[in-house]
């Protein structure tokens, strides 16, 4: 706000004229209430504090202890226009809604002045008051304005209440490991085999698997550093089949050069070492 605007506002004060500014009951006020006469820069803050035309209207009504259900529309319209003019003079950014409301007030005022045409009575409610819609909106707005104030007073986190927290015990957040079903494993294998187009030529059979399993087992029991006696790889309790499988696995390991067989002399003990 500029100095000039402020000066203008105080010389053009709306209470300058002889007319009563407002009427509270029987008493006519010749000047605006004290709470409006404040330094010009505070006045700007005051005007800006209105949350729109409904808020301003509510202020005008409450200030004079008027009944919201029986608004003296002419008087309130006049006061409303004074504030709107004031805001314009102060060059406050005036939302278009203020002017829409001004037009609405003027319309209500004119309708109240006109005698009610007989023809219109059929269309409208018999006791239709041109102010009804405005009153409804004012009441509606007031409810939410009030409840917004109450919400502001609710105990709020960070202002009134504070969540309590303590250091958590040292623990690794663990994700449970993924579960895999045999079906998924099969599907994965079928997919990779399909891609490799090896389904036909590389049919893997049960027998092969048990030999390959024994190959793995045997390898894991062998060491690169020291030799393991040949006999130690066979478990008698596995019976004949077990021995055969182990032997076939061993042959396969030798063929694939995964292990090394050592024999010092003929019929001497055979030793095996991983390569």
């Amino acid at each position: 706000m500029t100095e000039a605007a402020a000066g203008q506002a105080s010389t053009d004060e709306p209470a300058g004229g002889g007319e009563p500014v407002a009427r509270v009951g029987d008493e006519a006020l010749r000047r605006l209430p004290d709470d409006l006469y404040i330094p010009p820069d505070a006045l700007e803050v005051f005007l800006e504090a209105f949350e729109g035309p409904l808020d301003l209207l509510l202020y005008l009504i409450r200030r004079q202890n008027l009944d919201i259900l029986d608004i003296p529309i002419a008087e309130i319209t006049r006061q409303y226009m004074e504030y709107v003019d004031l805001m314009r003079e102060m060059r406050l950014e005036l939302a278009a809604e203020y002017l829409v409301m001004a037009a609405m007030l003027a319309e209500i005022k004119s309708r109240m002045l006109l005698p009610r045409p007989a023809a219109a009575e059929d269309e409208e409610d018999e006791d239709h008051d041109p102010r009804a819609e405005l009153i409804r909106r004012l009441q509606e707005y007031e409810r939410f304005k009030k409840v917004a104030e109450q919400i502001d007073e609710l105990p709020r986190v960070g202002r009134d209440v504070f969540p309590a927290a303590a250091e958590a015990p040292a623990c690794q957040p663990q994700a449970p490991p993924p579960q895999v079903s045999l079906r998924e494993l099969l599907l994965a294998l079928s997919e990779v085999m399909r891609r490799a187009q090896l389904n036909e030529s590389h049919q893997i059979e049960r027998e092969t698997i048990s030999i390959r399993e024994r190959m793995s087992e045997t390898l894991s029991r062998l060491s690169e550093e020291r030799y393991t006696p040949f006999q130690a790889l066979f478990q008698a309790e596995e019976g004949r089949t077990g021995v055969v499988v182990t032997f076939l696995a061993l042959l396969e390991l030798v063929r694939e050069s995964m292990v090394e067989l050592v024999q010092a002399d003929a019929f001497a003990p055979i030793y095996i070492r991983a390569r």
């Binding site: 949350e51 509606e140 409810r143 939410f144 009030k146 409840v147 919400i151 105990p155 969540p163 927290a165």
Partner: protein, 207 residues
């Protein structure tokens, strides 16, 4: 395993979490077949609540869960932990929030109808950034405007168990009553007042 009393586990978990935990999350602390029932949890919370009597902390049901929190009577001391003062929200923000809370789901246009002024984008953004409101759908009218609703964080922030705990909306039939409580003071005075009442909060409560 010899497990500690339920109320101790709940207390430990609430404090370790530092935020509200729903029944589901509390039950999730246990093996599926050992999870306490809701009633068992309620009983344990009631015990905790009794233990906290006369202390600076309380256990409160918020947004469908429980939270251990430092009560308002401790605010005069505890709030000094932080240099920054808690944010104040403008009337425009609070009125918009109130309309969304009571009238959800609601579009911006519907809010504007009640407030009589346009709702700026920054107001909506402020509320969304705080996590207090979110878009829950679009109204099937031209332009398909977004419909807003409040969130669990809104309830948590305002210390509410549910939307039914919001202050009652004054009824339209009784406007005179509302009149008496209306505030005729200037915004400045209001601010001065609230500043004082903040300081006096502790004192008032002691009286």
């Amino acid at each position: 395993m010899n497990r500690p009393p339920l109320k101790q586990i709940i207390e430990a978990a609430l404090l370790a979490a530092g935020e509200a935990l729903t029944f589901e999350r509390i039950q999730g602390l246990f093996e599926a077949d050992r999870a306490p029932s809701r009633d068992e949890i309620r009983r344990a919370v009631a015990e905790l609540s009794a233990d906290y009597q006369g202390r600076g902390i309380e256990i409160r049901e918020v947004a469908g869960g429980y939270r251990i929190q430092v009560g308002a009577e401790m605010a005069p001391w505890v709030s000094r932990l932080w240099e920054e003062k808690p944010a104040r929200y403008s009337r425009a923000v609070l009125e918009t929030l109130a309309l969304i809370a009571y009238r959800q789901p609601i579009t911006r246009g519907e809010i504007e109808q009640v407030r009589g002024v346009s709702v700026s984008t920054s107001i909506v953004r402020t509320l969304e950034e705080r996590g207090w409101i979110r878009v829950v759908g679009r109204r099937d009218v031209p332009g398909r405007p977004a419909m807003y609703a409040t969130t669990r964080e809104f309830l948590e922030h305002f210390n509410l168990r549910g939307l039914d705990q919001l202050p009652d909306l004054a009824t339209l039939q009784d406007p005179d009553q509302a009149h008496l409580e209306l505030d005729l003071r200037l915004p400045d005075e209001l601010e001065a007042d609230s500043a004082i009442s903040d300081d006096e909060q502790g004192a008032n409560r002691d009286e």
